[in-house]
Amino acid sequence: MNDKKLYLGEFEEIVLLAVLRLGSNAYGVTIRQTVEEVAGRPTSIGAIYTTLERLEQKGFVSSWQGEATPERGGRAKRYFKIEGAARQALNEAELIRARLREGLNGGLQPVGSAI
C-alpha cells in the first residue's frame, strides 16, 4: 500500500475510533450517534458515509450487508469493521502527536482557559 494513504484526516480518525468502539454493531446510525454523543461533533449521515467510503478505498475498513428490519422500512444495514491497516494508522497518528507535543514544556493551555 502507498505510504501516503496511511495518513488519516481528523474526521477520518474520529470515525475510525467510533467504528472501533462500536465493534460488531457499527453501522450508519450508531456511528453517527457515537460521533455526535462521544466526540461532541454534530454530523450528518452523508458525511459519515462519504468518510467511510474513503476509508474503505484506503483499506482501513471493510463492510458487509446486514439484516433488514421493519423500523428501517425493510431496508438492509451496512456494517463496518476495522482492518489491521487502520489500527496501524491510528497508532501512527497517536505517535506523531506525542512526538510533536514533546518539548512543548507546558506551552499548551488547558481547554477553555484564556490565552
Binding site: 450528518s44 449521515i45 433488514a68 428490519t69 425493510g74 431496508r75
Partner: protein, 160 residues
Amino acid sequence: MRKLVKVCRQHSLLLLSIIQMVSGMTMYIYLGPDVGAGLMVLTGMAVFLMNLSDLVLVKSNSAQPKHINRAVGLIDDKRPPKFAEYLLRFVPKQKREYVLGDLEEEYREIYDRNGKKHANVWYWWQVVRSFWPYIISTIKKVVGWGIVGWVGDWIRRLVQ
C-alpha cells in the same frame, strides 16, 4: 387512477425543481451572478412550495389507509417526508438503500421521542446538509451535457 395522478404529480414536481435548478445554474454561469442568484431564489421558493403542496397532499389523503410497512405488514404512519425521500434519489444507487434505511431508523426514534414536527425538521436538515453535493454534481453533469449550456449561450447572445 388516483394513485397514478399522485405519482404523476410527484414526478412533475421533481421535474419542475430540476428545471429550476438547472436553469438557475446555467444563468449563473452564462449571465452572471445577479441573474443566477435571482433564479436560485426562485428555485428555493419552488422547493418550498413543493414541500408545502406535499404536506397538503398528505393531509387531503388522510382519509385513505395509511402507509403499510411491507416488512411487517403493519399499518404505519411514521414515515419520513415523501419529497425529502424523493430527493435522496440523487444519492448513488450503491449506497441509497443504506442511507434511506439509516435515516428512516433515526427518524422513527426522533418521532417517538420528540414528535412528528421535530422528526420532519431533522430529516429535512439531514437531506439538505448531506446530499446537496450530490444534487449539485448531478446538475453539473446535466449542464455538462452541453444542451443547456448551448441554450444559455444563445440567451446570453440575445441579451448582449
